[in-house]
């Protein structure tokens, strides 16, 4: 029962219970990568699905992510081999001129929860910073977020800069005013209007 208990505890946003069940699972000899992948990461997939279905909302997503991260801290010293290998590097930030971070933070937490190495550049990030961080960290995916309609054109300039620089990283965009049509218009590699969708999109791009 240990793994389902971990999943249920994360979904229930119960940090104390997450810790208890992870410790119990480790004592019972359950492999660490199973606790990570079938427990914590699976839990965030469940939370993401519930968010998409309108069963939970932003406060619950944030609290579940916090519970997941509490569990991850216990596992970290024990992660070796395959379990230590991250699924890819994702850079994320809100574009220059825009200080909104809720969508960006949700995506960041969900993507990290899905096992990716996430480098969160924060808000008001200029294009050069996105480019240099993507180069330095050999990023697989770069996520650009914007809430303001005034800052959307920065996304177009960023996509153009990445294509010109010839970096391997795929560029995806999101945020309240952003649409799939806009993503296509500026030649972004993808768009999502929610955090779970962003995880799925990144998985698809990484698998392609």
């Amino acid at each position: 029962m240990a793994i389902p208990d971990i999943v249920n505890s994360v979904v229930a946003m119960d940090r104390i219970s997450v810790v208890e069940h992870i410790k119990a699972a480790m004592e019972n000899g359950i492999p660490i990568d199973d606790i990570l992948n079938k427990g914590l990461i699976q839990a965030m997939d469940v939370v993401g699905e519930k968010f998409s279905n309108g069963e939970v909302f932003v406060p619950e997503m944030l609290m579940a992510a916090k519970a997941m991260q509490t569990g991850l801290e216990i596992l970290k010293p024990h992660l070796t081999g395959d379990a230590l290998m991250e699924k890819g590097t994702v850079i994320i930030g809100t574009v220059k001129g825009d200080l909104h971070d809720i969508g960006k933070n949700l995506v960041s937490m969900m993507v990290e929860g899905a096992g990716f190495n996430v480098i969160d550049l924060g808000v008001d990030v200029d294009i050069d910073k996105f480019l240099s961080e993507a180069q330095t960290n050999d990023a697989d995916v770069v996520c650009l977020s914007a809430l303001l309609t005034t800052t959307m054109p920065t996304m177009a300039k960023a996509v153009e800069a990445f294509k010109e620089a010839g970096l391997k990283a795929k560029i995806i965009i999101g945020g309240a005013p952003v649409t799939d049509a806009y993503a296509k218009q500026i030649n972004a590699d993808g768009f999502s209007d929610n955090a779970p969708g962003a995880v799925e999109l990144i998985r698809k791009l990484m698998a392609a």
Binding site: G97, D98, D101, I102, T149, V178, T179, A181
Partner: protein, 349 residues
């Protein structure tokens, strides 16, 4: 009918001579006609100049203001560090609420800063110029949404579980300040308060949390602004019908509802909303400002506008609008195409 008579008739669910045309015009207007975007949002004489030029070219039935006010002036007055770039909306650089002591501090703040005075002066100048022919609407902001600006969105959202007393106390401190600012807007000449409930919308917050944290402060503010003589028009994204939020809004003294995008690609069905509110309040239509209007051609904008108008034809208490703030980068020819379709639409045949 002049613009004021037309809008008032629609808000009061009376017959109109043609479709009242009230999109969220401020950002495009400031971009098209302002000397620069920032000053046209914030500075009295610049606001006046941009909006008067706009009325010469467009046939809008109101002047819409307020993004500079809600984005920068209020947070700055309440101790946030705010930057005011020339080409984008104001940006909050640093929040101001970290503890209950901070809540007590902001409760004693004088919100009528120099920047606020300049904004109010713009409203007074416009009112004088427009007389009673074109009404002035102003975007406003709810106590909960102000709280997210002052405390940080993630922090407030998690406070709902970890520090609910702070969420309640912060809004309680904001309510009288919010009302005082609303009264100043009304005194300066604002007739329609566009009550932005951005961060408590059912895309972000559950109906349960809305009821627990937001409903009471929202009711206090809306009811008081209504008592002071303004028409209060809440704006909220998400499915306000299925989540039951609209039922809670209808308990307040409000005069209309302006739904926002359901998702980026989809907007709420206006007929579904009308069925819910019946003839209790008016409805602002919700053409997507980030669809063809922003990235399409004028023909596509005209088609989308016409679809909305045909769907609503015959409806009482209907006002054409966009579902939220239009981008300042909306092509002018698209705005003109939308305006043309609304102006020429045969509403009464």
């Amino acid at each position: 009918m002049n613009a004021k008579e037309r809008m008032d008739a629609a808000i009061n669910l009376k017959p109109v001579d043609k479709v009242p045309n009230g999109p969220f015009t401020e950002a495009p207007v400031c971009q098209y006609f302002g000397s620069n975007f920032r000053d046209s949002l914030l500075e009295g004489p610049e606001m006046l100049a941009a909006h008067m030029k706009s009325l010469e070219e467009f046939k809008f039935d109101w002047v819409m203001l307020g993004m500079g006010y809600i984005g920068g002036i209020i947070p700055e007055a309440l101790d946030c560090q705010v930057s005011f770039p020339e080409d984008v909306f104001p940006i909050i650089k640093k929040t101001s609420i970290f503890s209950m002591a901070d809540v007590e501090r902001i409760a004693r703040k004088d919100v009528f800063t120099k920047r606020m005075d300049s904004f109010l002066e713009g409203i007074r100048l416009l009112k004088k110029e427009l007389k009673d022919e074109v009404p002035i609407a102003c975007e406003y902001i709810s106590p909960f949404t102000i709280a997210t600006r002052l405390r940080g969105t993630n922090e407030i959202m998690m406070d709902m579980y970890e520090n609910p007393e702070l969420v309640h106390a912060l809004q309680e401190a904001i309510v009288p300040l919010d009302i005082a600012m609303g009264k100043a807007l009304i005194d300066a000449g604002v007739e329609y308060i566009f009550y932005g409930a951005d961060m408590e919308c059912p895309i972000l917050l559950s109906p349960k949390h809305y009821k627990e944290f937001v409903h009471e402060p929202t009711s206090k503010v809306c009811n008081e602004l209504s008592r002071l003589g303004s028409k209060v028009l809440p704006h909220m994204c998400g499915d306000i019908v299925k989540t039951g939020i609209v039922d809670m809004l209808l308990e307040m003294d409000i005069h209309g509802i302006m739904p926002g995008n359901l998702t980026q690609e989809k907007v709420l069905d206006i007929r579904e909303l009308k069925e819910k509110v019946q003839d209790r309040i008016c409805i602002f239509d919700n053409i997507n400002p980030n669809g063809p209007l922003l990235i399409g051609k004028p023909e596509a904008v005209a088609q989308e506008t016409l679809e909305h108008l045909n769907r609503a034809k015959g409806m009482t208490g209907y006002i054409f609008s966009t579902s939220g703030t239009s981008s300042p980068f909306t092509p002018k020819e698209n705005y003109l195409a939308m305006d043309r379709e609304v102006t020429n639409f045969d509403w009464n045949s």
